[in-house]
């Protein structure tokens, strides 16, 4: 359980990060808080030739309001976002979900962008990001682009980020709409067996589900009568293609989607 050998680069300017990624591409990995990448390195599931540490770049450690968006830089730790005084007002869904993201002892190091970059299908931050319809801000030597949440996740721990791109920030649209988050896990702070996030929209509710498919999935639901809602959630639960694993059966996962989903939809519409 020790990482394979790699060069360690302590970046002091953003240019050094972008140059390193342009030169080394997929052989380099960016490390921020390390709470997702370090276990991968320790287990040798990741064996980069170079590790580029971005945590000494103060310009990446900012939380900013830009227009209607909250822009969270790549160096912002989960604990810092949770402690941000405006969080409950502008991102109440993140305020509800962050206490479920890992433990006090990992939120103090882990970053918001790092969790989204890691794209674990059971993780809370990708789910919130997906439910709110956020954007990833990518930057390379050649270009800058923004990718919406719906196009960012490509599968279990796979994203559409190119090898030479740095996730500079993620942005969440500020939302005062009613929202709710609920999760079932073996132990508080563990990865979810099923986690759901619901946000009221103009037409009804957007419900996002994590822990079931190979990525978080969001679906719009109009206002429905009780039995019609249950039918719609049942179809959604089956479409997520749940699998059995050591923690829970596919059937149990579908059941949780139906039950938690119905509770949350009713909660945000009431």
């Amino acid at each position: 359980m020790k990482p394979a050998a790699f060069d360690y680069v302590r970046a002091e300017h953003l240019d050094e990060v972008l140059d390193g990624l342009a030169r080394e591409g997929g052989d380099a990995r960016v490390i921020a808080g390390g709470q997702s990448l370090m276990p991968m390195l320790n287990m040798r599931l990741a064996r980069p030739k170079t590790l580029i540490d971005i945590m000494r770049l103060p310009e990446l450690a900012r939380i900013e309001r830009k227009g209607g968006n909250i822009v969270v830089g790549a160096g912002v730790r989960q604990a810092a976002l949770l402690a941000w005084p405006e969080l409950g007002k502008v991102l109440p869904l993140a305020a509800q979900a962050l206490p479920w993201t890992g433990h006090v002892q990992t939120r103090s190091r882990g970053t918001v962008c790092g969790s989204i970059a890691h794209a674990d299908p059971s993780a809370e931050l990708p789910l919130v990001f997906c439910a709110l319809g956020g954007e990833v801000h990518l930057r390379s030597r050649k270009r800058q682009r923004r990718v919406p949440a719906s196009d960012f996740f490509a599968g279990m721990m796979v994203t559409t980020r190119a090898d030479d791109e740095l996730i500079e920030a993620v942005s969440f649209p500020a939302s005062r709409h009613a929202c709710a988050f609920r999760e079932v896990a073996r132990r508080h702070g563990d990865f979810a067996i099923v986690a759901c996030a619901a946000v009221a929209t103009d037409k009804g509710v957007r419900l996002a589900v994590g822990g079931v498919a190979d990525m978080p999935v969001a679906r719009e639901f109009p206002r429905l009568e009780s039995s019609a809602l249950e039918d719609a959630l049942n179809v959604f639960a089956y479409e997520l293609d749940a699998r059995d694993d050591v923690h829970a059966s596919a059937r149990y996962r579908r059941d949780l989607v139906r039950m938690i989903g119905a509770d949350l939809v009713r909660e945000v519409l009431s």
């Binding site: 020790k2 680069v9 276990p39 590790l51 006090v104 990992t106």
Partner: protein, 173 residues
């Protein structure tokens, strides 16, 4: 920018429990191994090595961290605090440590170093915690022999003692 090549040892310096400390580490060396094998500070324990069990929890720059998810080279220039920094003097236990002893909050002691670090940090930030908050903090640790009830009891007792309320029993430490 500094680039530390693989396969070579590099000087790493930080303060450990307030005192300067230095050693040599390859980039891939974990802080746990650096503390234990380079510095000889074996109070920090190595359990799962992927951030789940919490036995290696330390403080880096005043924030809790899993030492097994931290590279030694990342801590260069930082302030690191470990379980060795908790006792006020040799042969004297701190309030929290004494409460653990009184309440039998440890058996094999493997998880204890990490739990003490988390609780020490937590009680400084939350001087009047309720039991639920202590339990929430402890979800970040695994104990496989004593169980959590005496650990929660010890934490609550230590909090009361730090707040100036007398403990239920006098420490025999």
């Amino acid at each position: 920018m500094s680039r530390l090549p693989a396969g070579h040892r590099h000087n790493v310096q930080f303060t450990l429990n307030g005192k300067p400390c230095s050693g040599e580490a390859e980039p891939r060396m974990l802080l746990t191994d650096f503390l234990r094998h380079q510095i000889g500070a074996t109070g920090t324990h190595v359990g799962c090595e992927h951030g789940v069990c919490g036995a290696c929890t330390v403080e880096i720059d005043g924030k809790l961290a899993r030492a097994c998810l931290t590279l030694a080279v990342q801590t260069d220039g930082c302030a690191v605090r470990t379980v060795e920094g908790l006792a006020p003097a040799a042969n004297r236990l701190g309030i929290l440590q004494a409460a653990f002893k009184r309440n039998h909050a440890l058996q094999c002691g493997f998880c204890t170093a990490g739990i003490l670090m988390s609780l020490d940090h937590f009680l400084r930030e939350n001087p009047e915690p309720n039991e639920q908050e202590v339990r929430d903090l402890l979800t970040g640790h695994l104990c496989r022999c004593t169980g959590y009830a005496p650990i929660v009891r010890a934490a609550m007792e230590a909090a009361a003692e730090i707040a100036g309320k007398p403990a239920k029993e006098k420490s025999d430490a």
